[in-house]
Symmetry: C2
Subunit: 361 residues, 2 copies
């Protein structure tokens, strides 16, 4: 029996909220018997849905009423200023106040990151939180970060992402010695961006017991060459969405091919259970739930357009992180990372390493 | 009947060269009756293969002997210095000297780009050539550039890539009014890198008759939202390889699913011709042949690990570019692009636009 866990849900975020979020909460409550949920949102809108969807589970939820919410097109800065009573903000506050172990929202990503960073703050040693998610691969799954929180990243940021990703893979995915790859345009040391080459150097030289594999390329994401893929938020976001679009394209071609002749249709009919399993395997809802790593608190972003099943998976991601106390582990590793620097030396890791030789482009 | 065309082939580049390249030349000669080929490489190695593979076609080839070649792991700078008599370099020289309309190599990409740029020079108005290729989409195909020639790109570079890509889509793919999208992490104007936002502004304001669609995301590559996708070489390379890896992954899952039960195997057997067509549709050899756009000459890079069929497609890409005089069209459009600037104003497009207001991140 796992220790009891309370999570906060922004019930008003997402395209079909609050219907979708409340149905997602139901699925999560069924799957996770140790979890209770604080639901933040408009009682007049949530009430009737809760009565019908969560009947018999009401002892495991607690409604926190607010009429305000963050709209999906609101700028992060405006949400920070004007959204102090929004369901998103109050749900985040509840984590800071120790009333919940983590928060889940399918609302505006930029606003969620800005608010979570402002309210929860980052963990010691971390300059910028990153968005991370697991992706399906040939070998199982790979954690990739950053997926869009930070457009430009220096070697310090990338090094921090590597450490956070490693902790997640070890602590939550249960891998003993997760391997870490740096996304680049080639595997040779001379290729790529300076920031990426410098990060490689830092990760090669660190005394942290992490398994740095070296550079990986885009093909290595699907191949599952490493357990953790580190990149800047621009590249990571494009790579993630390119993978989604390509999977859609191949499935589209497959559908067309299997409808192209009577024999194809018959074959598809006979192989239907197998094709259904393929569809399940690639179901983006199964991978829903992007983690904001590096915050002093657990915050998970669900896709806004997902359904109840997808949303329940985002809740499970937050529960997994909380069950495994991921942030304690990240704190511990960052304390070690920072202890690698001489105590009298105020240089950052980056500055220390910039003086060393970096191979030319 | 198309005008006769001579193309130069670096017969020694590629994993299985010269066997693979000579067999590729044969397939290209069959498919393209108006083409003749100059073959650059080691006569002692090529001779026996040519005798057996190209029997009866010897009037359409011309052998240019050299023992030197560029190795696949040679640095571009070293290839430039030491490879003056290499098959790659002599093949490139033949284009500069007007003996061939274009060159095709499956050798070292960096060396090929460095040599082609050094020997052919760039077209007027173009600072840096870009690597471009067509990709399969739901709607047909999309041209994407840059795929790895330029790690860092400013708005001037990206604008030039947009114009070159547009000319290729119009001139070679035969699209009347190709649409151009800028790869970004969101479609809203406030998101993304400064260089990308500035490029959007330039493309919105240009008087060139090009159809600028706006920002696109990774998912739009497979969806075929636009005809031309413009990005920097780092992002483009990662996106291209991520798409390749994801297609491989889905096919891997499909194979496993269709072998998972007797019914699945039977269904797959009955649907076999359709599944074969799917495989053909996704065959990377069909999309082999990356164009170096922006050079004062035609240069196409084949994948080093491809086979004869893939190599023949790279030759076809070069033939298409030459048949359509793509570089004349690029020259014309760049003359117009540059005429947009006031004749007395020596500012570049970039400098001109940097003064205008760019929305904040």
């Amino acid at each position: 029996m796992r220790t009891k866990l309370t999570l906060s849900v922004d019930a008003m975020g997402g395209d079909d909220a609050p219907q979708m979020t409340i149905e997602g909460v139901k699925l999560a409550l069924i799957a996770l018997p140790h979890v209770s949920i604080l639901l933040f949102g408009d009682k007049s809108k949530m009430g009737p849905i809760i009565d019908s969807v969560l009947a018999g589970m009401q002892d495991r939820i607690e409604i926190h009423h607010t009429e305000d919410k963050v709209s999906s097109d609101e700028k992060p800065s405006s949400a920070l200023r004007n959204g102090r009573n929004s369901s998103m903000r109050l749900a985040i506050n509840s984590v800071r106040d120790g009333k919940a172990a983590g928060v889940i929202s399918a609302g505006n990503t930029g606003a969620l990151m800005a608010m979570a960073k402002f309210v929860m703050k980052t963990l010691p040693g971390i300059d910028r939180p990153a968005i991370a998610s697991t992706l399906p691969t040939r070998r199982g799954q790979t954690v990739m970060l950053d997926l869009g929180a930070n457009i430009d990243c220096d070697a310090n940021n990338l090094t921090q992402f590597a450490v956070m990703g490693e902790v997640y893979a070890r602590n939550v995915l249960g891998l003993k010695k997760p391997t870490i790859g740096l996304l680049n345009v080639g595997v040779e040391g001379m290729k790529g961006k300076d920031s990426v080459k410098l990060t490689a150097k830092i990760l090669q030289e660190t005394h942290l017991p992490i398994e740095f594999y070296g550079f990986v390329e885009g093909t290595d994401i699907g191949a599952g060459t490493v357990d953790v893929i580190v990149t800047d938020g621009f590249t990571g976001n494009v790579a993630l969405k390119t993978a989604e679009g390509t999977a859609d394209l191949v499935i589209h071609y497959l559908r067309k091919a299997l409808a192209s002749s009577p024999f194809a249709i018959l074959g598809a009919l006979i192989a239907r259970p197998a094709l259904k399993r393929l569809k399940q395997k690639l179901d983006p809802r199964r991978y829903n739930g992007a983690m904001f790593l590096g915050l002093n608190g657990i915050c998970v972003k669900s896709h806004g357009g997902t359904d109840a099943f997808g949303f329940s998976n985002a809740i499970k991601v937050a529960a997994d992180m909380a069950d495994n106390n991921i942030n304690d582990d990240i704190k511990h590793d960052f304390a070690e990372l920072m202890a690698e620097q001489h105590p009298d030396d105020h240089d950052t890791l980056l500055e220390k390493n910039e003086k060393s030789e970096v191979p030319p482009l």
